[in-house]
Subunit: 190 residues, 2 copies
């Protein structure tokens, strides 16, 4: 934290674990502000995430992206999202992106380029979400899903995503962000 | 859920509350898939959120947006984000947006227009995030913060946000999404 920002800072003096599951650990932390206010804040300690924007074409040669349809247990509905998942301990985010792409779509990317890195929810989560552009795709097999995953990959024309963005099944924030970034800014210079 | 999607569905048969705080309640739910797999999933039951993109100009007449700087307890760092907050029980999202704008920046909007609605994290959260464009701003007073809030509003030139998006303090996913949407798609037709 920069010196000039000390007045916005908070110091931590206690932390206890409330709960733990595969996706995150929940902690209650006690912190005191530079202005002397003390409070308890709940934070999720979560692994980093990856999202992949896999570039392809339809059978008619239209620009398209590969997305996955699945039931989402939080929102209790079926969404269409980019392939995504957790970065495993010690795993490089690019390796995690390649692995998730392969597991969820059966495709391998000849080229994987960072699009952006964001914090999904800095207010109460401590993790990052990395988004990669995946190009030069080769189909190498079928999906390889975890025991409790049930999803279907689908080639979606870019025009169809553009038209439906923010509606129906195209409402996952990180998918919408990834698509807007891909359309309006593209990959960082290589 | 549409009939053709029954094979992607999951049925819930048990739910227990693990923990509860001001931001969310954490539940463990037991669900069985159409293919007969049973698992326990953790979900956060959270109030809806609002984000506000407040349009203004710098003293030099440059296009600018009002953002807020604050320490974020999840990420443990200072971020620059759009004014945002929770929708209160029974509150209209537009009213919540107007209220948060006023509390965090001291400004009232002459016009508030929906930009988009997304699901912050459908994998394990059930809430929505509404983003509004706020125009025709009038300063009506100072900030009105909760006891444990410490933040500073700041007028940031659009060009500066554009240049720094996805880096440094400009990394909150919903802020990045809101900015990209504002720049590339604007408000829905009125």
């Amino acid at each position: 934290m920069q010196g000039t920002d000390a007045h916005l800072g908070w110091g931590e003096h206690a932390r206890r674990r409330i709960a733990s599951c595969a996706l995150f650990e929940l902690y209650a932390v006690e912190r005191t502000s530079a202005r002397g206010k003390t409070g308890e804040f709940w934070v999720l300690d979560a692994p980093d995430w990856v999202n992949v924007v896999p570039v392809t074409t339809t059978a008619d040669g239209e620009p398209a992206l590969i997305m996955v349809r699945q039931f989402r247990h939080g929102a209790e509905l079926i969404t269409t999202e980019f392939p995504a998942g957790l970065v495993e301990p010690g795993e490089d985010p690019a390796a995690a992106a390649a692995r998730e792409l392969e597991e969820e779509t059966g495709c391998r990317a000849g080229r994987l380029t960072p699009l952006n890195t964001v914090l999904p929810n800095p207010a109460f989560m401590n993790n990052r979400s990395y988004t990669f552009l995946a190009e030069d795709l080769t189909r190498i097999g079928g999906t390889k899903l975890d025991e409790l995953e049930a999803l279907e990959p689908r080639i979606v024309p870019v025009a169809e995503i553009e038209r439906n963005l923010g509606t129906g099944e195209y409402v996952n924030a990180l998918t919408v962000l990834g698509f807007l970034w891909y359309r309006s800014r593209g990959a960082a210079p290589r």
